[in-house]
Structure formats: C-alpha cells, structure tokens
Amino acid sequence: MKWPSSRRSRAAEPVSNPVARLVLGPIDAAALAAEVARPDRGGVVSFVGLVRDHHGGRTVIRLEYSAYAPMAEAELARIVSEAGERWPAIVAAEHRLGSLAIGDAAVAVVAAAAHRGDAFEACRHVIEQIKARVPIWKREYYADGSVAWVDPTAAAGAAPAAAGQGRSR
C-alpha cells in the first residue's frame, strides 16, 4: 500500500526523448519547465543564463552564438540523459544560437525531481557540463566597435581573446 501502482507506473515511464535542443528564437524557461514538471516531481530547479552587458571591463552590446550543430545537439542530449541516470530527476535543456541582445536568455536548464536536493544538483551539473562539453562559441560585440571570440579558458579576469579586427586596447 505504500507505493500505489499509480506512482510506480509514473516512476517507470521511459525517458526516450531527452529534451535537449538548440534553438534560434527566444527561450521560454517556463514552457521548458512545464515539459518536465509533474505532480510526482514536486521540486523544480531552473537555471537561465542571460546575456551580460559587460565582460572583462568592457561594455557588450550584443553577441552571437555559433555551434558545431550536429555534435552540440548530440552532446546536449548525452548530458541530459546522463543526469537522468545519475539523479532521480528529469532534466531539460535549451541553448540559443544566432544573434542575441543584452538580457536575452542564452541557455536554460530545468531539473524536476521528487526531492529538491536532487533537482538542485542535477541542474547545476548539467549547466556545468554544457559549458565544459558542448561545442558552442560566443562572439562578443563591444560598445567601442571591437569584436572578440570569448575564451573562458583564458586567465580569470583577463580580457577576451582578440578577434584581430578593430580591437582598441
């Protein structure tokens, strides 16, 4: 009686299609959350990464994300599936590509679980893995007219690597 059949059948639901997408238009984090939230997954943790208006002390006016799309999609799906195996949680992730304005959502990760600790951990893990493994590149356009590819592996606090054109430092 402790685990009624309705609960068991839900827990056994196959997760055949991980929600892991590259998108060209705006990200709707609430809609993404609705795809994974269920009454038996009462803790829903979301991460949304917004385009910041500064980087390395320079004012950013917009940016462009590009990707090695077939690999990025495959890697995103692998990351989401791995998280679903490691935690009793369902995770969904979207990353936007193309030209983004300041304040636009570039990435969203939602994790839903029966226990909030699992949802927090799975969500955090997935965004870290996305940053470490998914082949996506970011080109920042600055207020001074310069442009640079962002290199997160460069020394902390260092200015972005030069793109070689019109850079004013």
Partner: protein
C-alpha cells in the same frame, strides 16, 4: 601492415569560430599517411596557411565525439577542430 591496407587516409576537417578565421576557411580535406591519429592531423593543419596561430592544445572531435591526440583516424572520418568552448 598488410599489402592490402591503404597507404593514406583522407579526412574531412571542419574548422569553427576563431580557427576558421585563422585558416581563412571552415573546411579542409586532408590526406595523411596511414595509420594516422588526431595528433598527426593537427600537426598537418598547423602547416597550412594561418595554422601557426593555433594554440598549443587543440581540442578535437571525431565523428561528433571528443577525441584525444592519440585517437586513430579512419578513411572519411569527420574531424572537427574546436576552439575553447564558450556555451552557456
């Protein structure tokens, strides 16, 4: 190696972001003596015009999966050279 083994492998190389800018193109077709590894391919790309701008460590993927310098390459593999990832 047996006599039947091909003496070379021809690879499709994809370049992205800053690397595409450095090399002035986003695809290359490279033929290497067999057997060849990812490390061999990267050394060859460094010899292309603009290739000296590549960093000491270049991340690569073979057929959509991250690879190491020691990963062996087979005929018609798709090899991608990946600048520092900046998603998220």
């Amino acid at each position: 190696m047996s006599l039947a083994a091909p003496a070379t492998v021809t690879l499709h190389v994809l370049l992205f972001a800053r690397y595409a800018e450095l090399l002035g193109q986003d695809t290359l077709t490279v033929t290497l003596p067999a057997p060849a590894t990812v490390g061999d391919l990267i050394a060859r790309v460094r010899a292309e015009p603009g290739g000296t701008g590549l960093p000491a460590r270049v991340l690569a993927a073979v057929n959509l999966v991250q690879a190491s310098d020691a990963t062996p390459l087979a005929e018609a593999d798709e090899v991608a050279l990946l600048p520092p990832l900046a998603g998220g």
